[in-house]
Amino acid sequence: MSGGRLGAVALSVFRESVRDRVFYNLLLFAVLLVGAAVLVGQMTAGQDIKIIKDLGLAATSAFGLFIAVFIGIGLVWKELERHSVYSLLAKPVRRTELVLGKYLGLAFTLLVNVAVMAAVLYVVLACMWWISPENIRASWESPALDPALLVAFLLIYVQLLLVTAIALFFSTFSSPMLSAVLTFGFYVIGHFNADLKHFETVIASAPLVWLTRALYYLLPNLAPFDVTAPVVHGQAVSPGYVAMTIGYGAVYVAFLLAAGAHIFARRDFK
């Protein structure tokens, strides 16, 4: 596997995202945050800083999710649809490199997106800090420019990497529509699957309980990536928890990419 070839594929995906005006969502994000900053102060009985933080993190997650899913499912499919996969594979690029390069390109696009959103949120929060009197600032649960927000952004980013890997995995063997449905399905399940672990409270059958428990461990668990509530309330998120959650995400992504690359490598394009 060549780093140069991976980089070239990744760069082309990033350039294509720029050409497709993916980053226009940043403008919408900025307008949303600035508009909310002006409005919420009058509607929330002094909870504007908390709500701007919640909104900023939720919007980062939501915009990122749509980018991850809708671009992720098209990464491989577009090449097949345009028949450009033939000319690509005629070059000295392995199929595995193509899949990994595509993934890295979208990961970089998401990184830029999340980083700019974090910067915009900090700018809006800095403005709110600047215009708020000292007695109002003293009543905030956590500082406006709390560095802990970066932890929430980091985990959102890792969650988006996982969703991208899910989308890419499905796109290696199914249609874009089905890939989108399956990816969204996994996203929803990923926030519900804690229930699977405790299914014995609603079913009596031991094999079914074991099955649901197995599904709990096998399906992606996305809920731990959401640390918005503690971060916004100024509660500490332990470095160990963050490291283990990132580790879980990284291993899961590696599994999905390996499986996706394997399937793509065995596909017959005739």
Binding site: M43, G46, I51, D54, L57, A58, N135, S139, T228, A229
Partner: protein
């Protein structure tokens, strides 16, 4: 060619502007002829906090904020409504969902209990639900003594049960990290519950310990109301003295100023003049004073006289 290149987009822009102007004008016309559509009544489609939490996926904190904004707007709308039949039915469910979605939403418990406990029509008049909400907050964060202080306050101010209030202040004082004055507040409440000095001490403690500007302002407002009650008591004494001397109530504050009993027309802490009823001699706040309505009975202390309204 160049004229054509400029004229076409200009004409198109003009056409679009005309269309926008037309539909806005039609809407204005229709509203003027047939009346503006009335906003629908507030509806809460899902009342289970757990159900909303599951449906909100990873956006739970943001959905909690939306429910909090709804609760604040709902309370504000109802409070300002002039309808004689206004109800606060959705206030508790909205606060319950907010706090189920975000159990650490301190302000939702503390402000929410104020909205719920405030007597009708200014609030829901449900101190029982205010206590339930604060107890829920305490279950979520068993080190937050402020919730217990607030429960004691609800019993003191809105229920008038001073023994129960003192019990909750004591309970709050038992929590590690609680301030020393909570214990003395409990003792004062036991000894002087219902006394205006006791009320003043309670509000001063709330004002001085408030971690939020809104709570601090609310306590300062209540202290101004107690100040106004003190002044009304003193003015009533002066009016009574005038009647004892002359056999009739003064016609106005000027009469008392000329008699040397007052230096000037008395103003309440917000700068509105107090009003005097020359027929009955009763003293009260001006109808437009921001301090209205003044607390009465137990809230104002046993010495309080119900002001003229």
């Amino acid at each position: 060619m160049t004229t054509h290149r400029v004229a076409r987009p200009l004409a198109f822009g003009l056409a679009l502007t005309t269309l926008v102007g037309s539909f806005v004008a039609l809407e204005l016309w229709r509203d003027r002829v047939y009346g503006e559509p009335a906003p629908g009544d507030a509806v809460l489609y899902v009342r289970s906090g757990d159900a909303v939490r599951r449906l909100s996926l990873s956006f739970t904190p943001l959905v909690a904020d939306l429910y909090w904004i709804r609760a604040v707007q709902y309370y504000g709308d109802m409070r300002l409504s002039r309808s004689p039949n206004k109800r606060y039915d959705l206030l508790y469910p909205l606060l319950d969902i907010t706090t189920s979605l975000d159990p650490d939403f301190t302000v939702a418990y503390r402000f929410g209990s104020i909205f719920l406990a405030e007597s009708y029509p200014g609030g829901a008049g449900r101190p029982d639900l205010a206590v339930v909400l604060l107890q829920k907050g305490f279950r979520a964060a068993p080190t937050r003594w402020r919730y217990l202080q607030d429960i004691g306050f609800v019993y003191y101010w809105w229920v008038g049960d001073y023994q129960e209030a003192a019990r909750w202040f004591d309970k709050g004082a038992d929590i590690p990290g609680a301030p020393w004055w909570l214990r003395s507040l409990a003792a004062v409440t036991k000894a002087q519950g219902g006394d205006r000095r006791g009320s003043r001490q309670l509000w001063q403690s709330l004002r001085d310990s408030a971690d939020n500007e809104w709570l601090r302002n609310n306590a300062a407002f209540r202290l101004e109301q107690l100040d106004a009650l003190d002044v009304i008591d003193r003015l009533t004494t002066i009016v009574s003295a005038f009647k004892a001397r002359t056999g009739e109530y003064p016609a106005s504050w000027d009469t008392l100023v000329r008699a040397g009993l007052l230096r000037a027309q008395p103003l309440d802490p917000t700068g509105s003049p107090y009003v005097l009823d020359p027929a009955t001699g009763r003293v009260g706040l001006a109808a437009d004073s921001p301090l209205n309505p003044l607390p009465v009975g137990a809230q104002a202390g046993q010495m309080a006289l119900q002001p003229a309204r």
